[in-house]
Amino acid sequence: MTAIASPPPLHRHPSLTSSQDQARQRYLSTPDAEKYAAIDRVLDRRGGRTHEAFVGGQETKEFLRKTCKILVIGAGGLGCEILQNLALMGFRDIHVIDMDTIDISNLNRQFLFREADVGKAKSIVAAEFVMKRVPGVKVTPYYGKIQDHDEAYYKSFNMIITGLDSVEARRWINATLVGMVDEDDPESLKPLIDGGTEGFKGQARVILPTMSACYECSMDMLTPPTVFPICTIANTPRLPEHCIEWASVLEWPKAFKDKKLDNDDPDHIEWLYQKAADRAKQYGIEGVTWSLTQGVVKNIIPAIASTNAIIAAACCNEAFKLATTSAPSLDNYTMYVGNDSIYAFTFKHEKNPECPVCGGETVDLKVKKGTKVESFIEMLTENQRFQIKKPSISFGSGQPLFWQAPPQFYEQTKHNLEKDLDELIASGDEITVTDKALPFSLDLRIEFE
C-alpha cells in the first residue's frame, strides 16, 4: 500500500517527550489506507443511491487528496467547523478568507480560537490551528475582503464553501461565480455551497451557478431587516428597542456630527445605552439593558456551537460528495430547525426566471454595420420576440448607452441616437436592455455583419 501524501519531515517536535515523538512518527508513517479506513469505505464501495458516474478507488482518492483545491469564505462560527471537517475528510489544499479579527464573544463557538488570540486575524489563527492539528493539510489564509480578489483567483478553485453572516458578501460571491460560467469550459463552473445559522435553526444549500437556483433567486425568502418608523422612534416610543434606535439613529448623528458610530466600540454602546435608558425612564418604558442595546445596534443574531456544527457538516458533506461523487449531491436546499424536537426539510429551490443575476437570457443578435442606434431601437420595439416599447440601453459595464430616463441621462445620451451602433461597441460585445415590459432585463450579444 503506498501512502499518497509525501511523508512530512521527520524532525522531532520540541515540546514532545521521546515516547510521544515515537508515537507521532509511527502515526505519520502509517499508510493512508489505514489512517483513512473510515473514508475509504465510502470511496471503495458503492452505495445504493450512488450515481453511475462514480469511479471510486484510487483515482477518486487522488483527486480528493492531491488535486482538489477548495476555498472557504468566512473563518467564523461556520468557518471554523468547515475547516476542521474539510481537513479531516482529506481535502489537503484549503484556502480561507476572512476580514475579521477575533472577539471574546466568538469563543463560545469558534473553537479554533483561544483567549490569547483575541484581536488577531481569524483566518490566520484558524489556518495555523488546523495545520497544527491535522498533519498533511495545507491551509492558506487570506486576511481581507473577498472583493480584493479577481475572477482568476476564484477560477483557481474547484469549489467554494461560504459560512457568512452578510447578505452583501453572499450576493457578491454568488454573482461573481455566476458571471464566471463559460458554457464552453466546464472548468469555469464552480459549485457554491452556502450555509447559515440563527439560534437553533439553519440552512445549507448547493448552488451550481447557472444550472440551479442561485442565491439571488431566493432573496425574497430572507426576512427583511427590522426597522421602526422614524416618527415612532422620535415621538411615540413604546418598546425598549424604540429608545435604542432613537439614540443610535437620531441622537448620535446630532451629538457627533462627523464621528461614525462604531458598533464594536464599547464606549459608543455605553453612550447609546445611557441615552436610551434615560429616554425609557422618562417615558416609563421598561427593558433597556446594555445587552439589548448592543443586540439592537449590532443586529446580533444568537449563535451556538451545535447549530454551526450541524450546518457546517452538512455543507462539507456536500463538498465531499461533489469532489468524489460517492453520493448524489443535495438538490438543492435543506432547512434545519432544532428548537422544537428535530425537524429538517429538504427541497429543490427553483430558478427564478426574473433573477437579476442568473435569470433572463442572453440573445445573440446580428446587426448590419452602419445601423444607427435610433433605428436599432426601432428594430427592438418592432421585434415580436421582445415585446418592448420604450427600451433603454446600457453598455455591459452598466453605463448608459441610451437611456429614456431620468432626463439627465436622456440629455447626456440622446446624441448617441445619431451614432452608428458599431461606433459605440465592438462586434461580440454585450449590451443590456431594460424596459417596463421586461420582467427584469435582457442581454444582447451583438454581432455586426
Binding site: F63, T210, C358
Partner: protein, 180 residues
C-alpha cells in the same frame, strides 16, 4: 476524472447551462432598471453629481400645489449594495418646517423604513415624497410642533410654511430659504 468533469457528468442531463453573465453587482443592475424606468413628474428632477455612480444622487422637488408650492427641496438618495433588500436612504439637505421631516432632514415615510419591500422601486419612493409635500400627515409626526400647528389651524400652518420657506423663523426655530 476531475471534479468539474464529474459534476458535469452528473448534472449535465438535468439542464443545459444558461448564458447570463452579469458584469455589475445585482444592486447595480436593479438600480439601472429602476432609473431607466423612472416616471418623473414635472415637479421632480434628479441630479447625479457623478454619473458613473448610480448609487448616490440628488432629488429636487418643486411642488406646484399645496402648502409647499414655490419651494425647492433637495434630497440625497443613498442606495446600499444590499438594494433592494434594504430601502434606499433619503435625507433632506435643508432645514425645513414640515410635520414629517425633522430639523436634521430625516424623512418619516413608511416605504423608506418599515413598509419597504424589494418589489417597490425608486419610482415608489419619489411618488411617496411628492405625496408627503402635497398632503403632510399631522397624525404621525416627526416634527411635533409643525404637526400640531397643522392640526389646530391650517391657515396658521400655511402661513408658517410660507414664512419658513423664505428663510424665516417659526417659534424659536429658523429655517433655510428654499424658494425656487
Amino acid at each position: 476524472m476531475d471534479t468539474a468533469t464529474q459534476i458535469w457528468t452528473v448534472k449535465k442531463d438535468e439542464q443545459a447551462a444558461a448564458k447570463k453573465k452579469p458584469k455589475t453587482s445585482a444592486a447595480q443592475v436593479r438600480v439601472q432598471k429602476d432609473l431607466t424606468e423612472l416616471d418623473l413628474p414635472p415637479t421632480m428632477k434628479t441630479d447625479f453629481p457623478d454619473p458613473a455612480n448610480l448609487l448616490h444622487f440628488k432629488i429636487i422637488l418643486n411642488p406646484d400645489e399645496g402648502f409647499y408650492k414655490g419651494g425647492s427641496f433637495n434630497f440625497t438618495v443613498n442606495i446600499s449594495p444590499n438594494y433592494p433588500h434594504e430601502a434606499p436612504k433619503v435625507k433632506c439637505t435643508q432645514k425645513i418646517y414640515h410635520p414629517n421631516l425633522d430639523l436634521e432632514g430625516n424623512v418619516c415615510l413608511n416605504i423608506l423604513r418599515e413598509d419597504w419591500k424589494p418589489v417597490l422601486s425608486l419610482n415608489a419612493v419619489l411618488v411617496g415624497l411628492q405625496y408627503l409635500f402635497l398632503e403632510p400627515n399631522p397624525d404621525d409626526p416627526l416634527n411635533k410642533d409643525a404637526a400640531e400647528d397643522l392640526r389646530r389651524n391650517r391657515d396658521l400652518f400655511a402661513k408658517n410654511v410660507t414664512n419658513s420657506m423664505r428663510g424665516g423663523s417659526v417659534g424659536r426655530e429658523s429655517f433655510d430659504k428654499v424658494l425656487a
